[in-house]
Symmetry: D2
């Protein structure tokens, strides 16, 4: 399956403002690109990429006074398969987890494992299998939080989401990630493209999406507490401990987002 | 100057419990070791080291039922010089900072930059030099928080410390780190040995200490908001975004700390 | 299966001589350790470990005038299974290989891919499957080179081994690695313990062994051109491009090896 | 000083051929870019970048049947200063070198330290200072090898260059790197742009250049055994152990270079 993705995003600012953007396809999907993925800026300011500590591709630049528009458009190949289900079986004891996954058991800015430990152990201790435990966590979060775009708040944490019971996809992901970590299941936060492929069209402007991965039986598996069903055509951009690490853009000074268009559509050819 | 450091730390537990310890000298000090730094366990359980994402040396093991005692003792050479002062001069604009220091501008579990942004800009915006700004932040934190061992709380964040105005060295470091990051000065949290060298003896049990580094003019410089004066003989163990990354020990299950002795003393010879 | 491994190795030297040793079990086997793996030195000089660019554990120290003995002894768990066979199927085109394996297609000090390209394509181009191609390379090398301990020479390259037709396990590995790389199959050189487990006892002093890995169908598989049959109980120490990267010890000055005892035996208990 | 750099390079091939190119400015110079550095391909094939093990930016793509042209053009800021001279002083003992520089003491494909050890110690042992030793090595190599474009040979090593006494800038660099490593001075091979800035115009087609870095007194310093004088305006592309690691392009199959134009000129404005 071919998917055409991209965006037009614009910022206004009065003064030169440094920015880091995590708006590139993740290296794990580089070899699926069928056209080059070139980030264009208008005006054509200098920008460059670097690989961050989570192996995401970050772009650095300074927004000039007056602002900048960033654009990207590319075609990528996808299996067309829905998210794979994790295999059933007992959870890996922490002492047997690989070193590299250990950071994904710790707390982070939006995932206060210490505050949600009792909630997690009170609700999810009795599952024998890691997959059943994660399924239960995802069901719980999906039912516990009411979705609404107007519930978005940039400083909302998993604990806030748990208490307020309202949020956006980011809040679903943060709460589920936190509960998994409390139960000693490594979990990482993901962002990327997720179009309406294989589902009825959704009457809302296209946005990037947040989901999460859990480490079960030696591999990472994708879960989505917002939608709570396997989806087709996720194009991963960035992974990290939580939304801090993978913010689409981080401005180091005042910058107003004045345009935000994202597209993700199945296409028949590269044309 | 030779410094002899080490510890005896014991945990009790009923069931096998995985643990990660950050109790080794940081690789940046490896070449100063004058005796081997061997971590001994009693009973002699298998344990191994790995380098974490911040280049700290982490030790992994499983505490057996009944518990374990970890011990270490070594001699290390130190310059005997107090913490170096950062050079004076204008702050590096964010767009000119190296890629590798960028994560140390972001929020983290115990450093809620988003919540303290107004406090930071309200108090520290008018300084022209990075060094003066950091000095002001350190003075502010030193005076704002009252030190007391009984104020320690494992889930206390910079925001909590700012509001409650009470804390331990960790809380001083978290608040200062957060305020520096708000002002776009990269800051990282540090733990290690800090003995009573060059100061009058302190009548309190020896403990590990927390301080922080800021990135000024192309190098990292050590600051200590708890003591607010240059000190001699810091032996760094671990650095990270905050106490989450560099917890001395992280238990993945119930484990009671039943012994905790740390020593750090100037010695005349290796003997 | 439990395997007890270790060594006693001694060097003599007149003057302080820096050394790097790759004599630790590879991190991928850390979790199989059943007793701690402690490197002891006599005299008890300072030494420390670091992770090299291939994720091997390297030990650094300076041999004092008069020399040093290094000792290690530990018990490790092993599956007891012989080396797994690679799956059959077409070779992965280079453009689809992961970025991280690409260095293992290049030439290196002892693997002159440029000089052996014609030999490789002349002999191994007609195989349709990656596994058959590697099998053919291993057979070829096994038959082409005559084994003999007295054929060891520290500057012998794959090209030399191909021409001289005599060598030790290192030369078998270098030639096979080079031919695989010429055929665009990523190959890396490995060193470690390999005892006489599951085979008739060999009447020669125990030594460390060299073998190699090839990347087929998305995973690395172990091959051994010296023995040309699956073996039980390989305990990996280090991996790299060739023997340069994973030399057991590299002395930066004159140092004479005066003792070299290695042991690797199946045991029934940790005792 | 502003420098405008770029290239047009074309390959012909009959069949799809994988390629890795190291034709991007090194990350250490990213922040000096004054215009974006975009690699364009004609036809517009998919290509992507990754960071290799030496922190160079590598580009991967498959040349389609019929061939491809790669183009790049950008403006970068430079200090305009000639290569800095290393400070004088005694050489750092190997045991005090940082872990990260140790690989640059070892042999590599084109740098046979084992074969040139006697040449190195015979000629350069009597210098007390690291800088004097490197100066002597650079003088020696500069005078020992006769420069000539027609002496270029892709499999020529430092040892070959030493014996044949003819070569191109790559051969000068390989021999000097090897001799430095023999003397326990870490040395790495570099490629990049080097225009005729600050020197009389050279009547030869512009090419990329090879030089090398040595680690003295805690920093890397640039040396150039081909020109044997400090130069202005080096724009680093890639660093590694030798030309294997930083080949401008590595084709994994037959590909003919049919066009090769490089430009590097001082300019007055970005225009």
């Amino acid at each position: 399956m071919l998917i055409r993705c991209g965006y037009d995003i614009a910022f206004n600012t009065d003064a030169k403002t440094a920015m880091v953007a995590l708006l590139s396809v993740h290296p794990s999907r580089h070899q699926d690109l069928r056209t080059p993925q070139r980030l264009m800026a208008s005006p054509d300011i200098p920008l460059y990429q670097f690989e961050d500590g989570f192996r995401n591709v970050a772009t650095r630049f300074a927004i000039p006074p007056g602002g900048v528009t960033l654009s990207c458009d590319f075609v990528i190949e996808d299996s067309g398969e829905p998210d794979a289900r994790a295999p059933d079986g007992p959870q890996i004891p922490v002492e047997d987890l690989p070193d590299a996954v250990m950071p994904f058991l710790l707390g982070s800015r939006y995932c206060e494992t210490d505050r949600l430990m009792d909630v997690a152990w009170g609700n999810f201790a009795h599952y024998a299998s890691a997959r059943d435990r994660v399924d239960a966590i995802v069901d719980f979060v999906h039912n516990h939080i009411e979705f609404g775009y107007h519930y978005a708040r940039s400083d909302k944490t998993a604990w806030n989401g748990y208490q307020e019971r309202r949020g956006v996809c980011r809040d679903f992901a943060h709460l589920a990630v936190t509960l998994c970590r409390c139960m000693n299941i490594p979990a990482r936060y993901c962002t990327g493209y997720l179009g309406d492929i294989g589902i009825p069209p959704v009457d809302a402007p296209m946005d990037f999406s947040a989901w999460f991965d859990v480490y079960i039986d030696g591999n990472w598996y994708t879960y989505d507490a917002r939608h709570n069903c396997p989806r087709i055509g996720r194009i991963l951009m960035a992974r990290g401990r939580d939304a801090t690490d993978v913010a689409l853009t981080t401005a180091f000074g005042p910058a107003n987002l004045v345009r935000f268009d994202v597209h993700t559509d199945e296409v028949q050819s590269i044309e």
